[in-house]
Subunit: 346 residues, 2 copies
């Protein structure tokens, strides 16, 4: 093994190199690059040529330092790689791309033993604003940033009730009501498992309470043993159902807080020989791209995830532009009936 000598990249040309080559001052170069002041035809051409020749590209950090902006927005995710993030990211990207900002993505499996600014590798020190996904930031850090007026918008949760941070989320209630109602009134299911999301997930809790209310409204029983905990992953769903099965708890339907879990639920059910939807009906939430192609096609509540990302990013950008957008954005969801609930293909 060789000693790890530090690689020495060829030195990048700087604005001074350009200035020298063009025979002007660096101020002038800056001016033509940014078009911040009139420059004579002749000089402009010389500068442009020099830039071309040296293949010059301004050093972002230096520029950021001088203008006191990073031109970067951060996207903080609790973990990355969930299928849910694909459309979300697409939405965010679309919004950010058409602005002058860039996107720093970070999945924050925090390492609390680190120095504070290493603990949150994207934050006030390297972005102009942040998109914060539920569960990716400690409440304390959130408050601190907010106190500093640091622009943020929250994804799928509202911040601590003491403050008023802009956020975007789904209108969980209506979609959920429809889904449960469908299960209860159309398919006569009474023993519906509710598969929660991760602890502390706002959406999940909201959905749960809507779930209970709907059950109540319809006169269906609320059975505590039918509440299971997943974590918005296929594996989580699989394990939760396996456990229910192992405890021989009787149920005729499962409502999962997300489609990802639904695939796990399907796997567990299938392995146990339970037919979907005959033995147990299944309804998900999100309508991920693959949901329509599951076996059977998944009945689910469609959540406009990409739109949420787009909307959140735009909200952040508008804050950065000095505007004050609506604090809350709730995107409508809609029940998509396929076959896992017991409906048959028309």
């Amino acid at each position: 093994m060789t000693t790890t000598t530090v690689r020495k990249p060829k030195p990048r040309p700087t604005i001074s190199d350009v200035a020298r080559l063009a025979g002007v001052s660096i101020s002038t170069v800056s001016r033509v690059l940014n078009d911040t002041a009139p420059v004579s035809e002749d000089v402009e051409q010389r500068v442009r040529n020099a830039v071309e020749m040296l293949n010059f590209t301004p050093h972002a950090a230096a520029r950021n330092l001088a203008v006191r902006k990073t031109y970067t927005v951060g996207l903080l995710l609790p973990e990355v790689g969930n299928n849910f993030f694909a459309p979300l990211l697409r939405g965010v990207e679309n919004a950010v791309r058409s602005s002058e900002y860039q996107l720093l993505v970070h999945a924050s499996l925090r390492t609390p033993d680190d120095a504070p600014w290493r603990r949150t590798p994207v934050g006030e020190h390297n972005t102009d604003g942040m998109l914060v996904f539920v569960g990716s930031v400690e409440e304390e850090d959130l408050l601190r940033a907010h106190q500093r007026d640091f622009p943020m918008v929250l994804l799928f949760f509202r911040g601590p009730s003491s403050v008023n941070i802009p956020w975007v989320g789904f209108d969980n209630r209506t979609g959920l009501c429809q889904a449960v109602e469908h299960l209860v009134t159309v398919h006569q299911r009474r023993r519906i498992v509710y598969l929660r999301g991760p602890v502390g997930n706002a959406d999940s809790e909201e959905r749960e309470s809507a779930f209970c209310e709907t059950l109540e409204r319809l006169g269906a029983p609320i059975l505590p043993e039918l509440f299971a905990r997943g974590n918005y992953s296929a594996q989580g769903g699989e394990i939760a159902i396996q456990e229910l099965l192992a405890r021989s708890i009787d149920f005729d339907a499962v409502f999962t807080g997300d489609d990802e879990s639904a695939t796990g639920v399907m796997a567990a059910l299938r392995r146990a020989g339970r037919r979907i939807p005959e033995d147990v009906a299944l309804v998900g939430f999100d309508d991920l791209p693959f949901s329509a192609h599951l076996n059977p096609p998944l009945t689910t509540v469609r959540a406009p995830i990409e739109r949420a990302g787009f909307s959140a990013a735009n909200k952040l950008l508008s804050i950065l532009a000095g505007e004050t957008p609506e604090v809350a954005t709730r995107l409508p969801v809609e029940l998509v009936i396929r076959q896992s609930c017991g409906c048959v293909r028309q």
Copy 2:
């Protein structure tokens, strides 16, 4: 509409503020923060207190400028939101997270009319190195960066043949051979549609040639009318098959270059009343998380996408550490037999 007044965030404390409060020089503050030189117990404590009190966080841009590093690696994607990216991103994130680097993600729908450094919003000017996904960067830009010794590793393609840029990809051939062989020898399929990926996609082309070779080796006919073009999206697959169907081209199997397309193929086939696998067998490539749950479960070539991301990121990090890793990494793939090929569940 109000005039867009620029938001005035509260001024962040700087290292000077800390120094003043602690009654030391900024050099000393820097030293305790970075642990670059011994500092007396007493002073260190005073500095730490001051940092705590002011809630100080070093400004990344300034630091980057001073140390001439950005501590950021870029991930350039051709477009974002593909399900393929979820595991990829997870792998990259995992590798990057355990280093001192951060991750800048950019989906490069390039806007060629922009200034050059705005055209590539992540590049030499704001990262120390880049992970380049196939199709996300012009060859010309790639060469230029490489000429400057800019650390890069390519994902799923090798660069221009004139240079030798590190890359990681899949061992497409073996997986594909197995798949085709399975289709031909086990299921007696002879008229296999090959659904290509996007134009210029190296993996796709490699798979195509392996496809032809295998066919030849097995003595099966190579039928030009059975080559269709998709774009690694569900919609692309759907359209391609619809078109084949419309032209009444006869086929008894479809091999898609990716699972995403496979879902589209399924949709098109189903709509046309063709049964899978009875009428047409279907084999994909990638084995995305949902593939096992499709209807029918998809037989596919499993590609270790997450591992590819992890491996590529690590390769880049090792370059940044001054080492010189293997240029090429080919990850093995493996045929996963489920039911869309015609096999029955055991």
